[in-house]
Every structure is written in structure tokens, then in C-alpha cells.
Subunit: 231 residues, 6 copies
């Protein structure tokens, strides 16, 4: 990875948009992409998560007896609101609209600017969307910038001894994921669809902590977080 | 107004969606429409405001130097998230999608179910959208269910002696509004565009407090809040 | 299930459209839906598979180095060609267009006619689409009319002793599916996404052989194939 | 304004398309933009008015009891017919389609050619559309090329002594406009919505007579017509 | 034809919209459809021609060197402006939007109201569009309400002895048409595409003079104009 | 034709996609375009025919009593499946989506990559679509790469002495075509609509055999097949 990358898809954790909204944090993250773009010639496609906004509206929607796929849609709207803020922070080197279908993403990437979007369709997490886009764009790297700094053998948030893995294969990762239930808004790390796409497309994927310096160093070739390799 | 109404457009204040989101309050309001629908045969078109969600994202967007019409768009997305919750509360007697253009609203109304939407386009407040829809649908009544219980000669929130008006003409109301600056998200009561549409279409319009009983009583013909009359 | 059903989602195996195309077989299957509709008042949403057509074009596309999600799109086009034939067989009691998004499906269902569609989006099998639609429509039943007459503990096509199950839970079924790789066009029985949706929505789902009499009898309440139950 | 401009939004009066249609006049105006583009590197976004065509169809529509927002739509169609002629005159250095939404305008501007459009939505005059686009594009200048050569303290068409103003503030201009009624097709000079947008975006705006030489000289930095300044 | 008709497609000559626009003439024609609808239960699909408006803008566009298919598009816009006026005259028993694609026409017809549209796509005259729609809707009758009262062996406008035919076969009619050049806006009577569609769909088609009483009498079963029969 | 061409529209016969699908043949044809693009700077717009796939589905659809314009639509879907394969073979120097309307084609061509599409609308053969696009793009050449190597005075497939013409005028060609009936999927050589467009736009058009070397040599200026000239 010492060679310059050309096209990088980044899934940004929705926690970047936690309350109170911090324009400064958003701008700091966007600035890493701007710098990497001028210095290394990378075109970024950024997919923003839904965060607290998605969770609150999904929770209210569930109390109002929305079905799960309508809840997915609510979550997607939340990711798009976050995407608009991130787009503003990347301005003006960015496609000025938020694509809402895979075809629109593809057409926007043609214009050779960065592209920002949220979720695309019910039944797909933003992780799966990021993987689909990375596959379609034949991306050089898929980065999952999330709240934990990699894959652990146990959930680091829930205590217990646990160990961060430097590398994990897709089949090993699938075993870790299989127990979870797919409830709208609660997709964690990488869901099964995302995983299968990473596997079939043999996408180089890295799970890292969502911090500007970490993203920067990874783009420069340093090893952070956990590398996922298709097997 | 003792005769049964047939088509009523209601602008619901975004404050119905204040934090923490209250599914109960949303459902209580929706239930008034359901009851009025069965008892009086009314078809409702409901436009939801953006509330705190719109204000927070617009504020962050402004800090990120978004232009005002992009901020309008952010506000519109917020109104649509609120619309989804209100739609769920009206289910199943409601058109199942959120229209995003005036044409989609018109086509949806054809299906003879209630319709819920948020804002439609930058440069138009949800009040103006409600007025446009009411005009196009030749609505029998436009209700603006808001945080104050009518038009006062002074802002009731800011103290000072003030007096609620039972009736006000559009030209009198315009004088009250003219001083304000149109900043995204800060439209208050009725902005000038809404007012002009009410005037040109001679729409019977009433500003009332957004409380279920008040809405119910107004639909039954009782005089609450302030009636706006075109002159 | 002795009560009349109201809304049934049916995934029809692409093998109904095997070469040489048999208008008679297609019509026979459609006639079951027409009869069930008049006799039992059921509204059907039918999702057609891609069959041999999808497999041939996907195979050629792969030889031309299409990425997997573009191959998914090719497969979706094939399902839509099949859908057009099935739509013709249901004419005139059917929505006259093939919806291409979940929102279009939802809007079409409002018109109270049968609806026919193929796949909707890359990354989702037609099984997953059928489950998503069933969830959103709050369907009374999801039927998967396929090439085998239920779930076996071993693949009945590949020989070896095997046993058809009358009932299986979603968690048991997941274990059977987990080993497979998700390659475009090779989704079998129910893929993991479909399974998760069935689970979260607690959709009554039945896998049956795609034969007109079997479908008819199942709609009348008879037990055929395998019932999948969320646990 | 002696520095070269980069992005200029021009509202062209519908009177350019008065009957009998004069291809020569249209071409002469377009040629100014072509020359300014090669000489000064300006990208133009041109919004055409509806003129006599809009007025005649709106008048007939009103006789047929169309509501005002449907009349707005008729007026918009007229502006788009005019836009097609202007686009032809700018060919080939122009985006080849007429955008019909703000998002389409934004995407078209990305392609670095001139863009021509008419109105976008009911309730907004082409003046307001021009202001919205100028705001969103962060235009260096908004030109309103109209039938009068600036803002007068009295309407120059209706006689009476009157005086052209070199500069006017938005708040002064609002006072002049407030008396008018907003009837479809009769928006004059700048309506209130356009004015508010100019104000909030602090857009440098100039009202000039729609003549090729005037436009040319203003683009070169000469003072014609009336400059509107936000206060 | 003594039996009540059910679905009738009518191409209305653009000359109904000649200058000065006559709301009265438009309304008189629309009233025939309204009466036929209540009395005979007919659903109408009306396609309006472009008339003088199309001709003038096409002529100007040609002077500005537009290509022919762009001129077609200009002509289509003109037909849609006329369609809006006709729609207003049919209000409220009419689908409230102007469909712009064949799919939209089909979906609109489902709603069981009259539908009004103009042209749909470059390369197709409104006559061809009317024939395509009639074919797709399996219309009981295609009426071409035009400026002449039928097919003559010589052009009745250009003098010379000529004779109106009561019946003509499609192959006879083709011979009459073959000499013409297909220039945008100058399609006369029935162009070749329309004729081929009438032939392949075996559509009962009648060319009549566009006068309210004539239309009315034809709908009641009287023989006017010229009947075209596929051979 | 010794000068380098700039924009060439090519209609590729559907027989390139005969069964069994040959990725090699598709790639060989695409490679000619790639080579011509690098060597001669040509931008290609390629329209693919429907071939055996279209014929089979149209035949089944007709047995199911689809109307002809729905059959056209089925044929269009088939052409788009073929287009996807051809697009893959041109990757990555190609617009990544298949346009489905003339406007989308126009917008895609702006991006300065090759564009591939199938049919666009019922009632138009792919030949007519190719001619429409060539007209709108002001193409330097329209190539019809088909199963015969030019226009013969008798059908070369059906035996009998016949003679290939080096040049034919549009009016001569029309006489040859006039006897045919326009049935979906059976358009041969050039249908009447295509012919009329070639005539009105005075498009230089050549009918050649669909073989890579022939296409290459024609692009280099050699005389193959039959040249069609407007008269």
C-alpha cells in the first residue's frame, strides 16, 4: 500500500454527527480528505452513517408501528441529512448533490469530484452500500471509519478481555457476525451483506477508528485497525 | 362553517416533533384527523414543519458555510423525517409515500386517502407549501396549527401587553410581517409568500394552537385562534 | 389458515421461463392467481425470478469482466423481462407497468390490482425483494414457488438420502444457508438477507414447488412444502 | 467590478420573445454571452422570462378557471419554450438540455458550459429562480435584463415625472414593491421573494435594459441601470 | 357502433388553440366529452396538437439552426401547453397532470378519469402518439378531429375537384401519404408511423372535422368524415 | 471521408448477441471502437439491436396477447440487455449507465466518453433511434452494422439473382421498403421512420456487414456496403 491510491470509498460512522452537532469535528475529518486529495490524487466516495438521529427517529417510528423497511427508509433519510453536512465541509471539490440511487452515484463519480451519499435503499446498511459502491467503482480501498479501532474477538464496549486483530478473513468475520439480529439502525461493524460483497469482490477493506489522524495515516500506508481479507 | 368540510390542508408545527420525540403526542394529533375523517368525511393533506431538527442541522450547515438555499434543502429533509412519523401515525388510511413535488402531491390526492408531506423546494417555507397545495386542491380550509393560539398585535412570547385578534385581513397581516428577514428555518407564523397565495386564492385560513382538542373543535365549526381573510 | 387470505406475495421461480418459453405454462400459473383472486379476494404481488436468461447473460457478463453488482443489474433486467410476460398473462386485472423501485411497488399496490415486478436493486436477490415487499405490505403470506418442493436436510438435486421438513425455524434455516457464497444469479432457496427480513418481520413463509395445483391448494389452506417460522 | 467575473446569472426579459419571434434579436443577445465567455471566461446561467406567450396562455387558463398555481405552471412552460430558443442560439457552448429542477441546474453547471432554463416551480417568478440559482452558485453577479433601464421612483411607463436611481438598497426597494398583488405572470421588476433572497445572500444585483450593448458594457464593468445592494 | 363505446382516444387538432386563444371554443369541445362521459360512460384520452404555437416556435428554432429532433421537442412543448388548457376545461373529471411518457399515460388511465396529454417524444407526431396510446389501451375508437372533414382524393384546401371518401383502407391511405416529407410540425392528416400502428393494431379510426357537434354525433354512432380500415 | 471523423453513431445488429452468447465476438467488435477512438479520436454512440432474445420474448408475448406497443417495450428491454454486455466490453472508456431516454443520451454524450444504449421507446426501431441520435448529435456518420453487406435490389437471403448497390438515394430506398408491414421485432434494414430522419437531417449513412474488419476499414475511409444519400 506504499503506492498512491486512486479511488477510496469511506464509510464514516454516524457518531461523527452526534449531538450537539460539531461543525468543527466534521470539518476536521473533511480536511483530511481534501489534503489526501491534493497530495495523493485520491477521489473519495464518502458514505455517512445515521448516528443518533437515525436511532431516535427509528425508535419513535417503531413505537408508531412502522414496519422495518419503512424504518430503514427513515434511517436512510437520517444518513442523508448527515451527508449534506459532510458535503458542505468538502465544498467546493465535491459533487454538489446527494445521490440517492446506485446509478446516480456512478454517474456522479464520472465527474471526477468527491461524492458524498447516505444510504440508498431499505434492506441495505450503509456498510453494504459502501461495499456495493466500492465494488462497482473497483475501488482501491474500502475504509470503514467507525467507533472502535478494529475487530476484537470480544466486543470492546462490553468489557471482558478482548484482543484486537490485525488481520481477519471474511470467513472468520462471518462467524463473529452470525449471531446478531438485523434490526434497522443496529447494524454493527459489518453486516452480512457487506461482508459477502467484500468477499465476492475481493475488496481490500480496513476497519479503523474514525479519527482524522488515523484516516490520514492509513491513507499514507500505515497499518491501523483491522484489515479484512477475502478468503 | 357548520356544513361538513371536504378537503382540509393542515400545516402542523414542527414543535410536535420536539425532543424527546413523543410518539404519543404524534398519535394523539393523528387520531383527531382519523376521527374527523370517519365522522365528517374529510380528506386531509398534512404538511409537517421541521422543528428543532431543522434548526440544529441548519445551524450546523451555516457554520459549515452552506448557502441559504442548501440550508433550505436541509430544512426540507428535516420536515420529511417528521412527515414519515406522522404518516405512520395515520396508517393505514394514508397514501404510503411522502410526495416531494407539487405534482406528486396532486397525483397522491387523487387516490382519496390522506396525504402527508414536508417541504417541497428551497425558497418556500412549509407555510407557503401548505398554501400552494390548498390553492391547487381548492381546499375548503387551510389550518395553520402552530405554537401560538393566533395572531397577536405583539409577539406573545416576548412579553408586553398584547391582544389576540379574532379576525385579520391579509393586508393587515402583511404589515405585521414585513419587518422580518427571511432566514432559512426562521419563518414565523405566515411568511409573505404564503400570505400572497392566501390572498390571491382567497383561501379561508385559520391560525390555531397545535393541540388535538383545538383542531377537533375547529373542524366541528368552533371559532379558535385567528381567522385570516383575503381583502 | 382456513380464513380467506387478503394479500399474498409470491416469488415465482425463474424456471417458469425456461427455454423454449412456454406461454401455456405461464398462463396456467397466472390463471391460478386469477381464480384465487375471484374466489378468495386475494391481491397478489408477484416477483419473477431470472432463470436461464439471467444465468446466460450473467455468465457472458462475467467473461467480459463486469463487476458483480453490474451482473446483479443484468440479472434484474432478466427478471423484468420475465415479469412482462407474467403481467401479460394476468391482464387485465393487473397494474400495467413493472415497478422498478420499492416506492413504485408500494404506490402500485394502492390501486388494488395485482402487481408484478422483478428484482429491484443490486445486492438483493428476488427472494429478498419478495420478503421486503411482503414486510412493507404486511402480507398475510409469502410464498416461494421454486424448483424443489420444500426444504430438505440435504439438497435433493444432488442425491444422497434426504428428508423434507414440514416446518423449519429461521435460525435452523440460517445454519443450512451459511456455507454458500453469494454470487450473482446463484442465490438458492432463501438467501441470508431474505431470511433476516422474514425473521424480523415474523412473516409466515412457505417454500413450495412451483406448480399451479400446489399453489392453488396452498392458497386454499392445505399444507405443502415447508413452512418457515421466525423464532 | 473591473476584475473579470467568473459566474454570472442573467434573467432575460420575456419580451425578447415577443411576437413575431425574432431569431435575429435572440441571436444578438446570445452572441454577447458568447463573446463575454471567450474574452472574460464567464460561465453564464440564463433564465428566460415568459413574455407574451405566458400572458396569453395564463389569460386563457384563467378564463377556464384554472387555479393560480396551475397558471404558474403554464407560465413556466412558456418560459421553457423561450429557453429552448435561447439555448439554440448559444449552441454548442451550452448544456444541451433545459433543467427543470434546482438540482438539475446545479448538476448541469458542473459540466462547465453555459446553462439555460426557464422557471422551475409554481409560486416562484423567474426573478426568484434567478436569485435562488445565483445564491446556490455563489454567482459573482445577478443581472436582471428587463424592459426598463433601472428602478425609477415612479413607473416610467405610466408617465409622471420620475427619476432613475443609480443605487437602491433592498429595504428601499421592498417598500416600492409591497403594494403590488402577486398574480401569475404579472410579477414586475423584482418580486418580494427574489428581493429577500438577494438580501439574505447579499447578491450583487443589477437591473438593466435588455439590450446587447448594455449587457456587454455592464459585463465590462460600466455602470448602467440600477445597482441593488443588500442592507 | 350502436353499442356504447367504452374507451375513446381523440387527437384534437392544434387549430383549436389558434390565436387569439378562445376559451369558449375549448370549453365547448371539452363539454362534448363531459356529456358523452355521463351519458355513455366513455373514458377519453385526449391528445392535443401544437397548432400555430408549435409552428411559430419551430420556425424560429429552425432559423436558429436547431436540429430537427430538437424542433420536435419544441413542438411537443407547444402541444403540452395546449393540453393544459384542455385539461382545465375538463376539470374536475380529469387526471390532474399532463403525462409525458407512455408509461405515465398508462398509469394515469388506471385512475379511471379522462387523461389529456400532448406529444411524447421526438420523431413521433401527435397522430402517432394517439395511435400508440389507442393500441396500448385497446381503445374502442381512435378519433382524429382535424381541420378537414375527412380524407379527400385531392387536398380540399388547395382547390381542384376532389371527393371525400367514406371509407379508405390503410394501404390506400399509405399511397396518398408516401410523397410527403416528414418535417417537424408539418405532419398532415396521418403520418406513416400512425398509419402503420393503426394497421398492425387494426384500430377502428375515423378522421372527422373538429367541431363539437360532429364529435358528438360520431360518438352517438353517426357516420361522419372518413373511416380508416386496416387491410 | 479521408479526414478524421469525430462523432460516429453505430447501430449494431442484434445478431452479435446470438445464442450461445459469444463474449469473444462482442469484445472483438468493441475493440475496433477502442482502437478507432485512440487512433482517430472518434467518440462512438452505439445502439444495440435485440436479436434472438427480442424475437423469442416478443413471440411469447404475442402468444399471451400482449399488444404491439407492449411487445415493442419487451424488445427494448432485450436491446438493453445486449447493450449492457457491449458496455462491459468497452469499459472503462464508456459512460457507465445505459441511457433510456433521448435526453439521457444527450447528457451522457456531454461527458466525452462512448455511450451505449438500446431502444428508447415503443414505436421506434433501434434503427430509428440511431438516426434520431445521429441527427441530434450532428454525427459525422451513421453506420448500420447489420447481417447483410449492403442494400440489394432483391433480398440476398431469399435467393434469386440480386445485385448490391454501392449508393442508393433515400427516395429509391423508400420504394424498396414500402411494402413491408411494421411488426415489432421484424424491422429490417432501415424502416421508414429511420429513413425519413436520415432524409431530413441529410445524414451520411452506410449499411455494412457487422464484422470487425469491415467496421474498421469503413472508419478508415474505405468504401464497403451501401452508402445512403438523402435526395
Amino acid at each position: 500500500m506504499s503506492q498512491p491510491l486512486k479511488r477510496v470509498v469511506v464509510k464514516i460512522s454516524g457518531s461523527l454527527f452526534d449531538r450537539p452537532l460539531s461543525p468543527k469535528k466534521i470539518r476536521d475529518t473533511a480536511n483530511v480528505f481534501k489534503a489526501a486529495s491534493s497530495e495523493m490524487g485520491i477521489q473519495f466516495i464518502v458514505i455517512t452513517g445515521g448516528g443518533i438521529l437515525a436511532r431516535e427517529y427509528i425508535s419513535a417510528g417503531r413505537a408508531l408501528e412502522m414496519d422495518e423497511s419503512a424504518l430503514d427508509q427513515v434511517g436512510i433519510e437520517a444518513t442523508r441529512m448527515n451527508a449534506r453536512l459532510f458535503l458542505a465541509a468538502l465544498y467546493p471539490d465535491v459533487y454538489p448533490l446527494i445521490p440517492t440511487t446506485l446509478d446516480e452515484v456512478i454517474a456522479a463519480v464520472e465527474l471526477r469530484k468527491h461524492v458524498v451519499c447516505g444510504g440508498l435503499q431499505p434492506g441495505h446498511s450503509t456498510n453494504a452500500v459502501a461495499a456495493l459502491i466500492a465494488e462497482r467503482m473497483r475501488a482501491d480501498l474500502l475504509l470503514n471509519a467507525t467507533d472502535v479501532d478494529g475487530v476484537y474477538t470480544r466486543d470492546p464496549k462490553k468489557g471482558g478481555e478482548s484482543q484486537k486483530l490485525a488481520v481477519i478473513t471474511t470467513s472468520q468475520l462471518r462467524k463473529l457476525l452470525d449471531e446478531g439480529k438485523m434490526i434497522a439502525g443496529s447494524y454493527e461493524l459489518l453486516d452480512l451483506v457487506a461482508l459477502k460483497i467484500i468477499e465476492r469482490a475481493r475488496l481490500p477493506t480496513r476497519i479503523i477508528k474514525n479519527e482524522p489522524e488515523i484516516i490520514w495515516e492509513v491513507l499514507k500506508g500505515k497499518q491501523h485497525g483491522t484489515l479484512i481479507m477475502a478468503d
